[in-house]
């Protein structure tokens, strides 16, 4: 969690120092997203979980084992960015080795795509993995969210899909209130006969428990489950809105650190020391990658067409 937070802070600093054009990310969602990365069954192919994530998912990626320096590379849009080779914005992860399906900028389409990976894993296929899809609250107004509910819950053809909505009560500048007809988005799952839950995503233990329960259900029943996590948006929407600290929001990291301190699991100074270490490490890394090569102009023509079926297992 701390590492993920510090990564986002470094990315924001890079943006502010002109080492990147745009920042978007997940400070405020770590207490939920880190457990998600730890609990997912990581690997390649239908026997592991497919992750269709949001653009606030650094916490999940780091928990899966991603190198934070690679996030800096994407921010700096250098050729060595392993997620998009300098093509895409920060936070737009892709990692086939862990079934992390590319994060898409168009809101909510991951919910329509996730029903496809889930279909490949449905009961009877013998596939051991499930699919997990995540997005924001405002985005649930798109038809793709409904597509996901409809397709995953068809009687007799249910899909092993965990639908997650991370509700930070905003879509850019537009507040949750006034845009929805229900109190909680999870209510929309009920009509489709799927179990639903709301969890305080600022509480890491509650998140862990809610995810464990939901994942267990989807894995064993091979049916959909809708989980809504109430989270904070600690740095506003993105760099476009300044990326400054939103003081009115609960900080899950502070809360977790306090718990650790109260329960005497870690001392404040140990935590501060770790913070300093990681901060320095990331600051140095961000300087180092300044020297890495940008993509060449001609490289725009690379990777238009594949000549092998990599996802089909060709190597």
């Amino acid at each position: 969690m701390l590492r993920s937070r510090l990564l986002e802070e470094r990315l924001i600093t890079m943006y502010k120092q002109g080492d990147g054009y745009f920042w978007i990310g997940g400070p405020g969602e770590e207490a939920f997203n880190v457990p998600l990365g730890l609990l997912a069954d990581k690997g390649t192919g239908v026997d592991h979980d497919f992750l269709h994530l949001h653009y606030r998912s650094s916490g999940t990626l780091l928990a899966l084992g991603a190198d934070p320096v690679d996030s800096l590379r994407q921010m700096k849009n250098v050729a060595s960015d392993p997620y998009s080779r300098g093509r895409n914005f920060a936070g737009h992860y892709s990692a086939r080795k862990w079934n992390v399906v590319p994060v898409t900028s168009p809101i909510e389409i991951q919910y329509s795509i996730a029903i496809g990976t889930a279909r490949a894993q449905r009961a009877g296929t013998g596939a051991k993995g499930i699919s997990i899809v995540q997005g924001g609250d405002a985005g649930t107004a798109e038809g793709d969210f409904a597509t996901s509910l409809v397709w995953s819950s068809r009687k007799g053809a249910e899909l092993p899909l965990l639908l997650i909505v991370t509700n930070n009560r905003y879509g850019i500048s537009t507040p949750y209130a006034g845009q929805h007809g229900y109190d909680q988005i999870s209510e929309r799952g009920k009509a489709f006969g799927m179990p639903t839950a709301v969890v305080d995503g600022n509480d890491v233990e509650a998140s862990w428990a809610a995810l464990t329960k939901a994942l267990h259900y989807v894995r064993t029943e091979k049916k959909p489950y809708l989980l809504e996590a109430m989270v904070s948006r600690l740095r506003g929407h993105s760099s476009a809105s300044g990326a400054n600290l939103a003081k009115e929001e609960v900080d899950c990291l502070e809360r977790f650190q306090k718990t650790l301190e109260d329960r005497k699991i870690l001392t404040r100074s140990a935590m501060d020391q770790l913070r300093d270490e990681v901060t320095t490490e990331l600051a140095e890394a961000s300087k180092r990658i300044r020297g890495e090569a940008p993509p060449t102009p001609e490289s725009i023509h690379d990777y238009v067409f594949a000549d092998k079926n990599y996802v089909g297992g060709e190597v």
């Binding site: 192919g45 239908v46 497919f50 960015d81 392993p82 997620y83 998009s84 080779r85 093509r87 895409n88 737009h92 892709s94 990692a95 086939r96 399906v101 590319p102 898409t104 168009p106 389409i109 919910y111 329509s112 795509i113 996730a114 029903i115 496809g116 990976t117 889930a118 279909r119 490949a120 894993q121 699919s131 038809g143 793709d144 597509t147 409809v150 397709w151 068809r154 690379d302 990777y303 238009v304 067409f305 594949a306 000549d307 092998k308 079926n309 990599y310 996802v311 089909g312 297992g313 060709e314």
Partner: protein, 353 residues
Amino acid sequence: MATMIQAIRMALHVGESRLGVTDIFGEDVGAPLGGVFTGTQGLETTWNTPLDERGIVGTAIGLALAGRKPVAEIQFCDYAFNTIDLLKVAGNTYWSTGGDWNVPLVMMTPVGAGIRGSIYHSHSFDAQATRIPGWKIVMPSTPLDAYGLLLSAIQDPNPVMFLMPKALLRVKSKPGEDIPGAPDDDKRLAQMIDAPLGDRSAWKPEWPALEEMYIPIGKAKVAREGTGVTVLTYGRNVPMALAAAEELVAEGVDTEVVDLRSLHPYDWEAITASVRKTNRVLCVNEDTEITNFGEHLIRRISEELFYELHAPPKLLAGAHIPGIGLADNLEMASVPQMSTIKSAIAELAQHEP
């Protein structure tokens, strides 16, 4: 002598029984109907989706990413226009991820006019499709090409769009253009693979011993050789252009008809060779004429082969109006007909530089 729709069904059978196709799906694609044009009758891996094209395209992408080999149908291309963003994603995923994820899927959809389909069963999709980078796009004009192109589409590791010219689906193949392994006798073939009318719950097709035959994506076919005028076309307009060419023999016009078959990537070599030979070029297709794929071809020909042209290049395409009307007069006036193709060729042939 199979029809194009039978050829498609046979290709899908080869696909699911030998080439790894795992899911053939769309609205009414599975039992009992087997597709509104019968293209998916009797297959093993078909299933009926909810009535939701976005879900169909999303599912196809997801299945592909999960290592399966989906063939998704959009019932009519007229109903694919709410999915352009998803089609773009299918086309940009390999590029956006710098080669991390390819997206091997086939989308098939009936296109074009000619069946009095009125406003929403007459759309073309070639112009829209060629505007979506990352897709390969093919469109057959004969049953054999349909068979060979569909097999190539299934084997391709990229998203491939297979446009089915609606008006030709029930046209039979010409002698010598039989599907390899299928019986030549059409009655026999129909008995083997066409579902019976009425209750078909107990019916099973008897598949002929089909041979694989691949038509490479990106290769055009000179459907008729000639020296006077080049017609660049595809799909429904190919037989029209061929008929026009035959009629024009009497007028001393020798027409070359190039059937592109692949719209992207297209066969620039074949186009160049033909234009260099005839020095006169007509592009024909049914899509609306502003920002039309034929205009791309003409633009490139004008840019690169300007001094080869002995007459202004010409496009004959659909009228730039909001739809194709139902009444005979309306449909006929909206898209190229044999007669209008014929006069356009004649005019080009007669043009004096």
